[in-house]
Amino acid sequence: MRRNHLSPDTLENALRQSAPALGHVDATRVGRACGRLAGLRPHGATRQQPHPVAKSFLRIAAGLIVAGSALLLLKSTAPRPSGEMPHLVSVPYFSELGTWAGTPTAPDALANESANLVSDLATLTAVLNERSLCILF
């Protein structure tokens, strides 16, 4: 075999031309292979290809679903003004709470006022705790 001038084309042609020829059909082998298929059914024989129009409809429906989901997501994540927050003018220091609670010598009016204030502070503290816990959990 002469192997001079081994350009890619030469080699490709040589490979193509020297490929062994196809043999004859072996009827016995084919018969045996087909015999094994008796009683079997192909998988997914009833599967139908979807109609091209149905495909388009499916694509449009999928697009609408995606667009709707995106809109819902945008709506739900948009910043909203906070609703019913308590209006606080001034909040006294919690360290002074003990001194206010322990002033029995004050006149009745002042004592009542003080008691109201203590009650308000307790409520406020509870509300604050609740809100802050809501943020955390």
Partner: protein, 176 residues
């Protein structure tokens, strides 16, 4: 294949008859002994028949059938892979056919003896079965570019081996 997919086993006989010489040559070229080719052919036919519903008529049939045949063959190779303890490995005889051990007159035999099985398989699929690189890529689960690169390297290796062989041949002739 559409009729086969509806469960007509007789219609498959025509396909099996068309495939028989193709697959016999395919298995023969890729190192399957004659004794095992019948089993592999039957297994391939069985798989093709069972998967007839999944066949896409828009695509060519032969690459699809060869893909199935190749997987059957790889499973067969895997199942019969001999394992030998390391200390006995030196005593394992070379089981390659005699035609592979010596440089052959025919080009494909020469290529089989010189190239790795993977390179040889790619060359065979491209030039023996006349498949396109994209079809080989789908068959071997590679990209088309990868297949082209591997084919280029396999061709280059084969060309070098042929040139070396030619040079050695000329040298021997010159000595005598």
């Amino acid at each position: 294949m559409r009729i086969v997919a509806e469960g007509d086993a007789n219609a498959f006989r025509v396909i099996a008859e068309a495939l028989d010489p193709r697959l016999a040559r395919f298995f023969s070229q890729l190192g399957v002994p004659e004794a095992d080719r019948d089993d592999l052919f039957q297994e391939t036919c069985l798989r093709l028949y069972r998967a007839a519903g999944a066949y896409d008529p828009q695509r060519p049939f032969l690459p699809w059938a060869l893909t199935v045949a190749r997987r059957v063959m790889l499973n067969w190779h895997r199942a019969r892979k001999p394992t030998v303890p390391l200390e006995e490995a030196d005593d394992v005889p070379d089981r390659r056919p005699a035609q592979d051990r010596c440089a052959e007159a025919d080009l494909w035999g020469f290529a089989r003896a010189r190239l790795s099985p993977g390179d040889y398989e790619l060359l065979w699929l491209r030039y023996g079965e006349e498949l396109e690189p994209a079809e080989i890529a789908a068959m071997t689960r590679r990209t088309s570019v990868h297949v082209r690169v591997l084919l280029y390297r396999a061709r280059a290796t084969l060309a070098r081996a042929l040139e070396r062989d030619e040079a050695a041949h000329n040298g021997n002739r010159g000595d005598t």
